[in-house]
Symmetry: C2
């Protein structure tokens, strides 16, 4: 074996998870290198051993996003209930790995991180495409925006560790709306 490691790099994933959590719970400003290292239970030196700088950390987080998003798009494309209903349902915060990276990425987009903005725009385009195939090009944007609005409101509702708001009824009304939009 050529790439043999002396020890398994446990810190690397821990750091990435901590970064993600801090972005979600406290926003980008709180996700300093020191804070991330502290939450990961890793020394700052250890963090910088794996990620030479903050950009590298972001970059790997975006790779994680891409990977989970590809899986999600595939699932959406083949969802029995239809792409649109799948999209609405998956727009609600469920603390899945994809939800977590996505919100974390949103925090980066919020502070105008260019590469993140590019990827988010690409995702929106992919979603729109699948929605158009399901509900038609005219109603694709309304559906997309309903889902985005759900996300947007969940974001605004976040407090410091407050309880998750109840959105079940919201999803139901959105699905009802979706049926009406289908005509």
């Amino acid at each position: 074996m050529i790439g043999t490691m002396a020890r398994k790099p446990v810190a690397r994933e821990a750091v990435l998870d901590a970064f993600e959590s801090l972005l979600i719970e406290e926003g980008e400003r709180a996700a300093t290198l020191d804070a991330v290292a502290r939450r990961a239970g890793v020394s700052k030196g250890g963090l910088l051993y794996h990620f030479p700088n903050k950009e590298a950390m972001i970059s790997v987080l975006l790779e994680r996003l891409d990977r989970l998003l590809d899986e999600d798009l595939a699932a959406m494309a083949h969802a029995p209930e239809g792409a649109a209903a799948f999209f609405i349902r998956s727009s609600v915060w469920a603390d899945t790995p994809l939800d977590r990276v996505f919100v974390a990425a949103t925090r980066l987009a919020e502070v105008a991180h260019q590469e993140t903005l590019r990827r988010m725009a690409a995702v929106q385009a992919s979603w729109l495409e699948l929605l158009a195939a399901d509900v038609g090009p005219a109603m694709a944007k309304p559906v997309l925006y309903m889902g985005d609005g759900l996300y947007f409101n969940a974001m605004l509702a976040r407090g410091p560790g407050g309880p998750l708001p109840e959105v079940g009824p919201d999803v139901e009304s959105l699905l009802t709306a979706l049926e009406r939009l289908r005509g």
Copy 2:
């Protein structure tokens, strides 16, 4: 006369406008006291004369938001086209004073500024109420989310001074969707 001012405080409004612009165009991180003062054409000392600290600046900006929002809610309540159509149309970025404060406030909410989050939640509730009166309680949230989604996407689309994306067709499709939701 005792309350008379020796000079008119021209810097005060200039500072507030500069703060707003920086929040909109470059995000919260870029809106430092130095940057705000520079853009306002005011010294840092002058800025801090009017606003003893950054919180005070935010606070006055939120007052501006409240004032313009009250006017908007009144207009929405009495809109001939109906509250929902008014809401959709006003959800598109048009560079009005209200649009500007609102987006500026969104930037603050993004970095988890608590007071801002509270006010934004209150606004959403007010909008929801008026929408429910127009389209019924069941379809109020779908409509609200469509408008929010429009805003959300406009936010993500911002680059550094890039051209405003064309959203006219989007609004039309949303208004069509609105009619279908009305049933």
